[in-house]
Amino acid sequence: MAKVPVRFTLNGSEKAEFIESGATLLHALRDKIGDTSPKGGCHQGTCGACSVIIDGELRLSCLTLAETCNGADIRTTSGLAAGGVLHPLQRAFLDAFATQCGFCTPGMIMAAKVLLDRTPNPSREEVVEALSGNICRCTGYEPIIQAVLTAARANSQNAA
């Protein structure tokens, strides 16, 4: 299988790899670059555990070909804490007991981040809609929804 060069920024730092044509971004991130925060739960675009942010949009990295990401700005949960200080979403997930096994958490936080970047004060319904592509089998979702609402409140207080 021919390899193709791929170059993008990951959490602000430049990355370049030769990757098999047809390989997914999830494979490139996890197995080539070593960012294992996106998880492979289904490899068919149904569970949301592999969610990342590409140029500001929420994307499923298991359905995204790595070679289509040339020049892209890619963000993952591993790059969210700035200088060791947790992002308000991370803080809220901790405080609200919104993680159990933790496998869905990085994807869940990415989905929530795209929501809050666009809708700083979402309604509960908007949070539910934004997380509807991410499956959690442990929490029953309620603590996750509360965590996102809490993070939104913390954000708006900081902004005020």
Binding site: S37, K39, S78, L89, L94, T99, F103
Partner: protein, 455 residues
């Protein structure tokens, strides 16, 4: 949440400071930063990928296996069949002397359920391994299969598993687990009403977000490190030791981080074959279930059938209960004989009934082997028992909650399996439920206590 401290105030130390308070989990900081290391986050240079050739039939004899084309497929490094496995026939609970060994790591001469592992293919990439599985030729002679427990128990039913010649598990107590307490027929004779009902459940898949799997790395000294998401570390270590005929000192298991288990990761399925592959190739090996395998291949909760016959008096007392429980093990035992046994101990429910008769059977069919899942052996039984309790209450025109107060077990009551009740709190839980759900019951029930009646 309100913490009521009035219950059992005289016997309880009152240093309960944690309940009702949010406390961060120790592992959460790793989860929210993406730093928690799950088994599949370990990546080793030169790692091989294992894919399994699986039976397309529910029940078939294997006439021959031809792996020659698969071995020639570009990227394929090794192909494993039953003859490569040192101790191929095993059973998980042999560690606690619950036999017989009845399941193959890789099928040998026969397959007994659709999806059973037959041949393991190891290749440089997942894709090459997957492609090569399609090139393994297995010649099957399809056999009649049975999917229903009652059909499996009939004379002349297809024999599912030669290690269980009668299609049910033979306990030391015979063909079923039995509880006999009082005289159940005398109880029925005395009863004002008798109600017999059947309850059935289908298999249930745990569907964890992280699929079952492991990554094995040779340490270079004939010792192997196995990163796994097993929920049963020492069952897995000890069974791997038996299957591989290797001392446990050669096996280094790293686990404890599980991306959702719910009981679905207590079987010993991926680790032994992956360690064997690492040993025979000298290379790291990754064996990770696809989502399809997780849903179709991993053990579900057993299908169950529960037949409950109760004798009840007009004043609300249950005077006789007869239960026959059937647990569908699928083609192999795994944890199901234990699940059926748990059912026998559980079926009277948290109620004091003077005459009890229970038989629980662990039945073999050509379905996916079932195993552990959250409270297996009792969860479906509780569903059946509590629906039955509601029906009994309706039958005698009594409030369903008050009906449960009348029959609730209390400290000092003798349970059907002859363990005296200690530390019961059912009465108090129901009193609190009555308040919380705004479902009032008569004052005499709110004045009851779990302490020994009359004491």
């Amino acid at each position: 949440m309100e913490l009521r401290k009035s219950y059992f105030a005289d016997v309880r130390k009152d240093g309960l400071n944690e309940i009702g308070q949010p406390r961060p989990r120790l592992d959460s900081p790793g989860h929210v930063t993406g730093k928690t290391a799950y088994f599949a986050d370990r990546n080793f240079p030169g790692m091989l990928h294992l894919k399994m050739v699986r039976s397309p039939h529910h029940h078939a004899r294997i006439r021959s296996i031809d792996t020659s084309e698969a071995e020639k497929h570009p990227g394929v490094v090794k192909v494993l069949t039953a003859k490569d496995v040192p101790h191929n026939v095993y059973t998980i609970l042999i560690l606690i002397q619950i036999g017989p060994e009845d399941e193959t790591v890789l099928a040998d001469g026969k397959v007994r359920w659709k999806g059973e592992a037959v041949v393991a293919v190891l290749a440089e990439t997942e894709r090459a391994a997957q492609e090569a599985t399609a090139k393994v030729k297995v010649d099957y002679e399809v056999l009649p299969a049975v999917f229903d427990m009652e059909e499996a128990l009939k004379p002349g039913a297809p024999l599912v598993n030669e290690y269980h010649g009668q299609n049910y598990y033979l306990y030391d107590s015979g063909g079923c687990r039995k509880v006999r307490f009082g005289d159940v027929e005398a109880g029925f004779a005395e009863a004002d009403h008798i109600l017999e009902q059947s309850y059935q459940s289908s298999p249930i898949e745990h569907a964890p977000t992280e699929t079952t799997g492991c990554v094995v790395a040779p340490e270079g000294n004939d010792r192997f490190t196995c990163y796994t998401n097993t929920q049963a570390m020492f069952f897995t270590l000890d069974n791997a030791s038996i299957i591989l005929q290797m001392p446990g000192s050669k096996l280094h298991f790293v686990g404890g981080t599980v991306g959702g288990g719910f009981g679905g990761k207590v079987d010993v399925i991926v680790e032994p074959i992956a360690i064997l592959a690492a040993k025979l190739t000298g290379r790291p090996v990754s064996f990770i279930y696809s989502r399809e395998e997780e849903m179709q291949i991993s053990s579900p909760r057993a299908a169950e059938k529960v037949v409950i016959k109760d004798g009840v008096m007009n004043d609300g007392r249950i005077v006789a209960r007869k239960v026959t429980g059937y647990t569908d093990a699928g083609a192999y035992s795994r944890h199901s004989p234990y699940g059926a046994q748990k059912g026998a101990a559980h079926y009277p429910g948290p109620y004091t009934i003077p005459n009890v008769w229970i038989d629980t059977y662990c039945v073999y069919t050509n379905r996916t082997p079932s195993s552990a899942m959250r409270g297996f052996g009792v969860t479906i039984g509780d569903f059946a028992l509590e629906v039955q309790m509601d029906k009994l209450a309706r039958l005698i025109g009594m409030d369903p909650l008050e009906f449960r107060f009348i029959n609730a077990y209390r400290d000092g009551d003798m349970k059907a399996h002859r363990q005296p009740t200690e530390g019961a709190a059912l009465i108090e839980c129901m009193q609190e439920a009555s308040r919380a759900a705004n479902w009032p019951v008569a004052e005499k029930y709110m004045a009851m206590s779990s302490y020994r009646k009359g004491a």
